[in-house]
């Protein structure tokens, strides 16, 4: 520990990273609903579960980094706005959690109900409990639910922008740190959020559908589509990065504090590699890979490209959160920082965070009928057993929505 330290450590790096994944995955999941892109239909339910798993842990980064996490509830009982920009987080996050849960309810209620009727034992009771006892399956009801689903997805996209735009804002608003005080922060965070969300969904889709879906098959057209979207977002992200460099590096274009900070940290400093190779290099690698059709249509290679993009975004978060703090406020040179392996603010915490997310996601995958084909199969299978034709028809109806 020097005179000046990196106060916000790895959990705070994980915080915008995870938040970005939520925003991105939510938007990917909404493609079919809002933008009518039916080919992304299989992603809709899966992405909702991904979103939920990640959003539950979005606030854990700052919580784990704080000195007194036991006082988390005071975020709700004390006024924080406008003094603390992070007060906004409480409102946006809480709303977002409610919206995601509501959407999950609306998206899964009907199949859960149907499954609860054909599933014996505690599993059936759990499905029934998850529907909150709602059993209505009329067309009108289903249509109304779909309509609400679309409305919520629209609102959710707005929240996704707000959620991530706000994270860009809390960095951009801090005048005391020249490398943060940058109007580009907000668009950069939003773009990189969408990019990371798409990348995540490509990987999750490829893995989950390859190994855990009914057909154990990945739709390469869908992957190709996602990859194409990713190319555009990558281009925007790269563009913003270039603008950011122009805004921060040349002395002539910026204030001295920013220029010297950028030079001392990213041009010939501790994060030169993290910036030029980790953040920008991997982005270019991902873009280059994505330009090849063969790669785009191969789930494995698409996942590799996506993984490169994800790592690049992690570096972007790291360079922002840590890099901004490496510029000293009262001393010379740069603040020294090497991430701790264990203990407070360590890799251990970040690892734990992702493990928790994986745990919750796995749990959700086991409980919720995210794979329409599997659901269809189960319902069909049980219909055959019970010769319950009506149900089969209604199953198809639901799945068409």
């Amino acid at each position: 520990m020097g005179l000046e330290q990196v106060y916000w450590t790895l959990p705070i790096v994980a915080y915008p990273f995870i938040s970005g994944l939520i925003a991105g995955s939510f938007i990917v999941g909404s493609l079919s609903k809002i933008f009518g892109q039916k080919q992304y239909e299989p992603l809709a339910k899966l992405s909702l579960l991904v979103t939920l798993a990640f959003i539950l842990f979005a606030p854990v980064g700052p919580l784990a980094d704080s000195r007194q996490p036991s006082r988390w509830w005071e975020l709700y009982t004390r006024a924080h706005i406008p003094e603390a920009p992070m007060g906004l987080f409480t409102i946006i996050w809480t709303t977002y959690v409610i919206v995601v849960i509501a959407e999950i309810y609306l998206a899964f209620r009907a199949p859960l109900h149907q499954l609860s009727e054909v599933t014996p034992g505690w599993k059936g009771r759990l499905y029934h409990w998850l529907t909150l006892g709602s059993t209505g399956m009329s067309e009108m009801r289903l249509r109304r639910e779909h309509k609400w689903l679309v409305i919520l997805a629209g609102f959710g996209i707005f929240l996704a922008f707000a959620f991530h735009g706000y994270i860009g804002f809390i960095f951009g608003a801090i005048k005391a740190r020249p490398l943060w005080h940058n109007a580009l922060m907000m668009p950069m965070f939003i773009t990189s959020a969408i990019l990371s969300g798409i990348a995540l969904m490509i990987i999750v889709y490829s893995i989950v559908f390859r190994y855990f879906s009914f057909h154990r098959k990945v739709d390469s057209a869908l992957v190709d589509g996602l990859m194409k979207i990713m190319i555009w977002v990558l281009l925007v992200d790269l563009f913003l990065d270039v603008v950011d460099i122009l805004n921060s590096a040349p002395v002539a274009y910026t204030d001295q504090a920013t220029a010297s900070g950028f030079a001392e940290i990213f041009l010939h400093g501790p994060l030169t590699g993290a910036y030029w190779i980790g953040q920008l290099g991997l982005l270019v690698v991902a873009l280059t890979l994505a330009l090849f059709r063969g790669i785009r249509t191969s789930p494995l290679w698409a996942s590799v490209a996506s993984f490169a993009a994800l790592i690049s975004i992690w570096f972007m978060r790291y360079n922002t959160v840590i890099g901004g703090q490496l510029q000293p406020k009262v001393s010379q040179g740069v603040v020294l920082y090497s991430p701790a392996l264990f203990g407070r603010g360590s890799m251990q915490i970040v690892f734990g965070l992702f493990m928790f997310i994986l745990f919750v996601f796995s749990l959700l995958l086991m409980v919720f009928p995210w794979d329409d084909e599997a659901t269809k199969h189960r319902l069909f299978h049980s219909t055959q057993l019970t010769n319950h034709g009506e149900q089969n028809r209604s199953t198809n109806k639901i799945l068409e929505h």
Partner: protein, 1040 residues
């Protein structure tokens, strides 16, 4: 189907694995923080690390945010300074301080206030100043161009030692050969070759290395002096002339010529008058004195503040006397007159002729009031004390040089043959001289009274700017408390052209009642340990070294201080040639020391010899001083003209922590340690009645870069390396009489600490008989205490012996060596202090024969041997009132000190700037009304010296004396980690918040009689003390 089942079970297994593994991983990852989710409210983690946290170390050292040198306690975690507090063992910071024997482990949580002032606490921001110079810089543009490049340590040492065409890349300096240390050293012969063959008494060529400093405290200044002495220059000069010099000279010349400061025993005094002493806001040690005064005032101490504006202590004072600037001497001499005429002086005390007779009458010291002075102006020993030969008396050879006094019958004896001398040989209050063998003689008392009656009380009142009854009131009260009254003073009274006499007059008040060495009186304070090891039992004699030639250094200092003009070849040659030796080219100052303006004048005039290398340590004359010669970025001011002159200052090397206003003109800047990275041994002040020696040590690893062999870059390392390159004795191998080498600063300073540890001069508690006993060397440090020196044992394992390390540890673990609080008041007689000025037989000088028989080298007039009220004059004796007429210059310009700042160097601390971001020109409300200005208005202040004037915002304060304007003296920077400078082609822009406020120094009067034909000159100064005049400038104030 079978396959399917296998698949399903494999998948289930996989799922279970993922689920279980991720849960376990998540919980493990949550271990560092999850438990905190369940902490009870209120039992949270304190965000800072307190003293007793694991890993937190307490290191004691000594502050230097001002010169008070309070003991500090640094809280350090992983070599980072977290916080600064006071040292509970140090009496400056703590009252009563912890007993010295208390285990440092107990001290960690001592439940007593141990404080540093705001300024002291902000020291953390000084060490971590982002604009510090951490590696050597070399000038690459013209002086003042602010262009530097970083150079290696080797290049720095080699270039400055060897000299050469060092600045050949700088336009205009292509062919300038710069002499380095080698060219003065001349393989060791330079110490023996006169700089000026016509005046060999001025000293050798090595004197042309002129070293001066702004702040080098004991330890560091001893190190610099060691280098200077070994090199062979007498010019290792402090800054006293721009500080409080006249106070010190007046005190020394009232005492034994060595003790420069007395202070009231505030805890026990009943009545104190402070003349211009900045109580609560300045003085020594600021926080200690303030604490004692506030406490004593609450318990009944009556005190009077005499000043030109109301300082904060006025709030607790019984009386605030606002005097004319420089009128302190008139007020004091008025009191002297009243006291003598009303016989309120202690006649028995003043009559004692020796320490023995004094002790017999229960007095701890004695005066020369009854000694006889030759007052025949034609007598060859005029104004000296009469010796037997002077009046034709025959005595034994041992008595030949003893002054005479008269016994009760009027018969002259050498003073120690009688116990009491007559004060008034020709009748009470009669100043008629007596004649012995035709020689006219007066007693010192008569001369004092003769000088006191030069003005009536009403005249004194008028000069001082007070009401006449006040003089009587103060004198009456002052003489109504026995020995428990004190009249004390500092810069406000002293830093005038008449400052020496003001001081002498104030000190005379104390002598008249004989309060020195008494509990509640005027005290010398405890003694410091013999850290230089000059005594018998010290382990290291640091003032000597092998191969040190005798009589080196020698000659006259470039400031002509410490030498009487009458003893120089200039004077003698003139007399021998039948010419008047007066006026000398520039004044000489046998009594003053550290006279900056005369250093610069000596450099400018090359008198008594030109300078070749000017080395400046921790100073900022371009900003701070001397008055009128600098203080603004205006290169027409004298100091800038001098430093820009490459012929007068061929090589200018500084060490500093930032590129300061002065550093901008340096040829080389060496990174200096802040005080938190430095060493030192700091004696206490007379304010503390017990012995104090604080030890300063680096509290964290210094931030400066390292040399290739891993030593810290600082001025000590530089001097060591230059000395080694030249082969100077006292450095490198075989550097100490006791053996051992000096290759890094710790080799020197740890020996100094060992000397402190083995000192045997201070006292321990009283024994069973109620007597004090000498303490002797400190005990061996425990294992825990040894841990406090582990880091030094690693750096310099052989600096002291293994046995000495244990004692050094005992001292460093406590931040120095301190007598216990209860030792203070155990003198051998009731009412006497433990540490007494008179304990060594010292006397007090009502009349000083050295002063009384010394000439002003410019006018040829004799100085006056007693206190005296004199008006402010130029060096040639012209009245300032006649030069700057009141009709035009109707305000008197003065300054004052804030408790949160110190001269030039604390403006880099943001915490202090937050307390007061800017400063003002302060003015009385009546004056403001008359001029039609209110607080916040801008005015222009103009002096004869600086007709273009300077502007600033006004603050109207009724406490300022009408006719006076004042400002505080730390503001108005333009480059102290502020402004911009260029290093390696890159512009560095500093923190311009440091540049706020008003600085009126350039307005301060240069002596109009001492300007040369080019208009270059020095400030007004006291002809006796040599101190700069800060408070004698008259100005015009114009609303704009």
């Amino acid at each position: 189907m079978k396959n399917d089942n296998k698949n399903i079970s494999r998948r289930t297994f996989l799922k279970g694995l993922v689920l279980g593994g991720s849960l376990l991983g998540g919980v493990w990852g949550g271990l560092p923080w999850l438990p905190d989710m369940f902490k009870q409210r209120g039992k949270y983690v304190y965000p800072d690390r307190i003293e007793n946290w694991p890993g937190v170390e307490l290191r004691y050292s000594v502050c230097r945010q001002c010169r008070s040198d309070c003991g500090l306690e640094a809280r350090v975690f992983r070599d980072t300074l977290l916080k600064l507090d006071g040292n509970p063992y140090h009496p400056n910071s703590t009252e009563p301080q912890l007993d010295y024997s208390v285990d440092p482990k107990t001290a960690v949580m001592a439940p007593i206030p141990h404080s540093l002032c705001a300024r002291g606490q902000a020291g953390r921001q000084t060490i971590y100043d982002p604009y510090r110079v951490l590696r050597p810089l070399k000038r690459v543009g013209n002086r003042g161009s602010n262009q530097f490049k970083t150079i290696t340590w080797e290049q720095l040492v080699s270039e400055t030692t060897n000299g050469g065409y060092l600045f050949k890349d700088v336009p205009g300096e292509e062919t300038r050969y710069v002499e380095g240390f080698k060219d003065l050293w001349l393989n060791g012969q330079g110490r023996f070759i006169p700089a000026d063959p016509a005046h060999p008494d001025m000293g050798p060529g090595t004197n042309q290395l002129v070293i001066y400093w702004g702040r080098a405290e004991p330890g560091q200044n001893n190190f610099i002096s060691r280098f200077a002495s070994a090199f062979g220059t007498v010019n290792a000069l402090p800054h006293v002339g721009i500080c409080e010099l006249n106070h010190h000279v007046a005190t020394e010349q009232s005492l034994n010529g060595k003790v420069a400061m007395l202070k009231p025993d505030v805890n026990n005094a009943e009545y104190i008058i402070w003349f211009g002493a900045g109580i609560y806001t300045a003085n020594f040690p600021m926080q200690t004195l303030a604490r004692k005064v506030a406490d004593a005032a609450a318990k009944g101490l009556k005190f009077v503040i005499v000043d030109v504006s109301a300082i904060p202590s006025v709030a607790h004072a019984d009386k605030f006397v606002t005097v004319n600037p420089g009128g302190d001497g008139a007020l004091a001499m008025g009191m002297v007159r009243w006291i003598i005429e009303n016989h309120r002086y202690d006649a028995q005390f003043l009559g004692n002729t020796t320490i023995e007779s004094a002790n017999q009458t229960n007095e701890p010291n004695y005066t020369n009031a009854s000694y006889l002075v030759i007052v025949d102006e034609k007598h060859p020993h005029a104004f000296k004390f009469a010796r037997p030969k002077d009046v034709g008396l025959q005595v034994t050879s041992t008595d030949e040089d003893k002054p005479l006094a008269l016994d009760a019958s009027g018969k002259p004896y050498v003073f120690d043959q009688i116990s009491a001398g007559q004060l008034w040989p020709t009748g009470d209050l009669n100043v008629q001289p007596i004649k012995i063998n035709g020689v006219s003689l007066r007693t010192a008392m008569q001369i004092l009274y003769q000088n006191a009656v030069q003005h009536s009380l009403s005249e004194y009142a008028q000069i001082a700017g007070v009401q006449e009854p006040l003089i009587e009131e103060l004198a009456n009260e002052f003489t109504s408390h026995g020995k428990k009254s004190v009249a004390d003073f500092y810069r406000g009274a002293a830093m005038h052209t008449n400052g020496f006499y003001n001081g002498r007059s104030i000190l005379t008040l104390n002598m008249l009642i004989g309060n020195v060495d008494w509990v509640g009186g005027y005290m010398q304070g405890g003694a410091a340990a013999d850290f230089m090891g000059t005594g018998k039992n010290a382990p290291y004699h640091l003032m000597k070294w092998p191969n040190q030639p005798k009589k080196v250094p020698n000659g006259v200092k470039i400031s002509r201080e410490g030498t009487a003009y009458e003893k120089t070849s200039y004077y003698k040659n003139a007399l021998a040639a039948g010419q008047s030796p007066f006026p000398a080219k520039r004044p000489w100052f046998p009594f003053g020391f550290g006279i900056w303006h005369e250093i610069f004048a000596g450099i400018w005039d090359g008198y008594p010899y030109p300078a070749k290398i000017v080395y400046q340590h921790m100073a900022n004359p371009a900003f701070s001083a001397p008055p009128g010669m600098s203080g603004k970025q205006d290169e027409s001011l004298p100091w800038f003209r001098m430093i820009k002159d490459l012929k007068k200052v061929p090589l200018f090397i500084t060490d500093d922590i930032v590129v300061s206003e002065t550093g901008a003109y340096a040829d080389y800047i060496i990174p200096d340690s802040t005080y938190l990275e430095a060493w030192g041994a700091l004696p206490g002040f007379p304010t503390t009645p017990t012995s104090v020696t604080g030890i300063r040590q680096p509290v964290v690893e210094p931030l400066m870069a390292r040399t290739s062999d891993g030593r810290v870059m600082c001025f000590e390392t530089y001097m060591i390396d230059v000395a080694k390159k030249l082969g100077m004795p006292g450095f490198g191998n075989n550097a100490f009489m006791e053996g051992g080498s000096l290759n890094q600063r710790e080799d020197f300073y740890l020996k100094l600490v060992a000397n402190v540890a083995y000192d045997s001069s201070d006292f321990n508690r009283v024994n069973a008989l109620g007597e004090l006993i000498k303490r002797g060397p400190v005990p061996d440090g425990s294992a825990a205490e040894l841990a406090s020196v582990q880091r030094w044992m690693k750096v310099a394992p052989n600096a002291v012996s293994p046995e000495q390390w244990r004692k050094v540890a005992y001292v460093i673990a406590r931040g120095g060596r301190f007598e216990d609080y209860d030792v203070a008041y155990h003198g051998p007689k009731p009412g006497w202090l433990t540490h007494r000025y008179g304990a060594k037989g010292n006397l007090l000088q009502i009349y000083n024969e050295n002063v009384g028989s010394t000439h002003n080298a410019v006018t040829g007039e004799l100085f006056i041997g007693t206190g005296q009220s004199v008006p402010q004059k130029t060096m040639k004796g012209r009245l300032m009132d006649d030069i700057d007429l009141s009709s035009k210059f109707n305000y008197h310009l003065t300054t004052y000190k804030l408790p949160i700042h110190t001269q030039s160097r604390t403006m880099d601390d943001p915490w202090l700037r937050e307390l007061l971001p800017e400063s003002f020109i302060e003015i009385n409300d009546l004056d403001a009304q008359r001029m039609g200005v209110t607080s916040g208005d801008t005015v222009r202040v103009i002096s004869a010296n600086y007709p273009q004037g300077l502007t600033g915002r006004v603050r109207v304060l009724p406490g300022v004396r009408p006719g006076v304007i004042t400002f505080t003296n730390s503001f108005g920077h333009w480059q102290y980690g502020s402004g911009s400078w260029i290093v390696n082609g890159q512009t560095v822009s500093g923190d311009n918040q440091r540049n706020g406020g008003v600085r009126l120094n350039p307005l301060m009067r240069l002596d109009p009689d001492m300007l040369d034909s080019s208009g270059w000159g020095t400030c007004l100064e006291d002809p006796v003390g040599g101190g700069a005049s800060y408070f004698d400038t008259k100005v015009q104030v114009v609303k704009i």
